[in-house]
Amino acid sequence: MPEPTQPTTGDDETTTPAASPAAAPATTAGAGEHRLADPADEVTEINPGVDIAPEDIGVPVVSEGERLLEVDEVTLRFGGVVALNEVSFHINKGEILGLIGPNGAGKTTCFNVMTGVYQPTSGAVRYLGKPLGKRKKFQITKLGIARTFQNIRLFANMTALENVLVGVDAHHTTGVVSAMFRLPKHRKEESQGYARAMELLTFMGLDGKADELARNLPYGDQRRLEIARALATSPQLLCLDEPAAGFNPAEKAKLMELIRTIRDQGYTVLLIEHDMKLVMGVTDRIVVLEFGRKIAEGSPAEIRDNPAVIAAYLGVDEEDAS
């Protein structure tokens, strides 16, 4: 196998079968992260009843089950390193698609290609049938693709409400002149934006903390706030990058429920996740990457029985299943 030449920095943690005990430190690292959260904090309850359906952002809405986004033979090279190798898969409207694979498999890189952070070396990402091309990151967001980050990247010195408002603002056009003279456009956008932001915060159970600075929120709330911020841009496709990192089983269960609720409110979800149990429990379909290649695709049940996946995932799977 050519894997030892893989020079990605995350390589050290790559879970080769031989290194299965090495997965233990990874879990403790996660636990360590979690310890940062105030232990006294109660787990925030979400309010699934709040209507947070995406607003009309001027892109054609495809009907349930049709292709929303298509990754077509995407290859990405950094110098001599092949990060993605002719990866192809698609996401249907209204489904929850899991993107899994061991560390360094190229999951986040794949995300980055989809959201315009990297341009593919060859191949294309098509959204609603049209290639994303060289669109800038913010333009892709405006088309309806939003994401969260593996390592939380909130606007730390802004309040929770303001964080969400930035997301809502993605489809606003208030400029200096409108703001300066408080023109009707500004007032309309501010009040509507505020309403939507508060809905999202309420949905996430964060309405009581709207005025807290993002950096002062407990860890779990920060994760939820990131999702709220991404939802605020009214995406057709919501990409979640390891949202369960650092969560305990109870929190993970709540997260699964949350992801399902989000889908039920009319969003399509792409989920990158390490935790097999979570992925198996919530997704409709799963795509498995390893070393930049797609090695399997199918329903959770199919993936579970796929020998290639088992080979790739053995260590972690056992660890998590126990």
């Binding site: 952070v117 939003a146 606007f155 802004m158 930035v166 603002d169 200096v176 600075l213």
Partner: protein, 382 residues
């Protein structure tokens, strides 16, 4: 171990109490207080309050200088404080504003002041866009050196271009149109107690050569307008976009913020306000030359913003007052002014890195951090 942490905690409710008390005053009382405060500011140069009034230089003139610093600091705060762009060449825009006024009212044309000031603002704004468009794409650290270079290029161009008056500069810049409405007397304290002195007066809005008070009033009025502008824009989508960009540019971009466009906007607005202050300076001075736009001034401007607390408009005003006023008030230090100023900057950086009046956020964040620290300490000792 708990005593040092509990002491500041005990102090905090007091300050919060004061703020709350002010906040809870009836609206009418608050308005009256604001009006009184504004009135006090307008009359300041005529009150001749002992100790505050500068001995070595005319107080009205000094206050005007301070007012231009405040204006500049408000503009630079948009760039540095809100958008997080380090600009070391802000004096360039100040010069562009001043020279636009000089060129259009004296050197090559004789347009009216009222027409020229808006032109100066626009020209400065355009120069901001021209500088920003190529450079705002480079990394933040480099922006500092590029803007530093810009400031020097502007000055050297002024020195070496005869069309702009060269080193001789531009003289005979006309005054703004005057409207002599009424006279305001000043106070005289020489007998120990304040006495109204009807001999020394300032005429309301008579822009003469020998009375700087009306220029100060003009500057104060403009500061008021700029402040209003600042408050309105900051509390809108634009202000949030700036802050998001400052906090995490990539994340902001991925949340749909066209960060480059907003950085350019901040740069252009900052430049426009810088140009406005320059125009004001040129109007009052009546004479400008490249000597008035040294690189050091850029650094003083930046110091004003950071000393006061970048990101907080009231803080940068305080910073501008410190930077503009203290060297004039303590003229006795004469030769040691710069030395003392340098020492003050260092001490401030070490002991009060958030600035004298940091954004309220930072204060709140710091309080939360302290709380966290107390918690952790408690846990550790438990």
């Amino acid at each position: 171990m708990s005593t040092p942490t509990s002491a500041p905690a005990a102090r905090k409710p007091a300050t919060r109490g004061f703020k709350e008390r002010v906040d809870h005053l009836p609206r009418s009382v608050k308005i009256v207080l604001w009006v009184l405060f504004a009135l006090f500011l307008f009359l300041l140069p005529l009150l001749n309050i002992p100790f505050i009034t500068t001995e070595g230089s005319d107080f009205g003139g000094v206050l005007f200088t301070v007012a231009t610093y405040v204006l500049v600091a408000l503009g630079l705060n948009i760039v540095v404080g809100y958008a997080g762009l380090l600009d070391l060449g802000y004096v360039g825009f100040y010069a562009v504003g001043a020279y636009t006024v000089g060129v259009l009212t004296s050197e090559h044309a004789h347009l009216s002041w009222v027409v020229v000031v808006p032109i100066a603002i626009v020209v400065a704004m355009v120069s901001g866009v021209i500088l920003g468009a190529p450079t705002l794409r480079v990394r933040g650290d480099y922006l500092a050196i590029v803007t530093l270079g810009f400031g020097e290029i502007v000055r050297l161009t002024l020195v070496n271009s005869q069309w702009l008056g060269g080193a001789q500069g531009i003289s005979d810049i006309p005054k703004p149109p005057s409207a002599e409405l009424f006279e305001v007397p000043s106070l005289d304290w020489s007998s120990g107690a304040p006495v109204v002195d009807l001999d020394t007066t300032s005429t309301f809005l008579k822009f003469g050569i020998n009375d700087f008070v009306p220029y100060y009033w003009l500057a104060l009025g403009i500061i008021g307008l700029v402040l209003l502008f600042d408050i309105l824009v900051k509390s809108s989508r634009v202000g949030r976009a700036w802050e998001a960009t400052r906090e995490d540019e990539d994340a902001a971009e991925l949340m749909g913020v066209p960060t480059f466009r907003f950085k350019l906007l901040a740069f252009a607005l900052g430049a426009a306000i810088g140009g406005l202050s320059g125009a004001l300076f040129a109007t009052k001075a009546g004479f400008i030359s490249p000597d008035s736009f040294q690189l050091l001034l850029s650094i003083l401007f930046l110091a004003a913003v950071v000393v006061g607390g970048a990101g907080n408009r009231w803080g940068v005003i305080v910073g501008a007052i410190v930077v503009g006023y203290f060297p004039e008030r303590f003229r006795d230090f004469a030769d040691f002014r710069v030395l003392v100023f340098g020492l003050a900057l260092m001490l401030l950086a070490i002991f009060r890195p958030q600035g004298l009046l940091p954004p309220r956020r930072t204060v709140r964040a710091k309080r939360a951090d302290d709380r966290q620290a107390v918690l952790e300490e408690g846990e550790a000792s438990a």
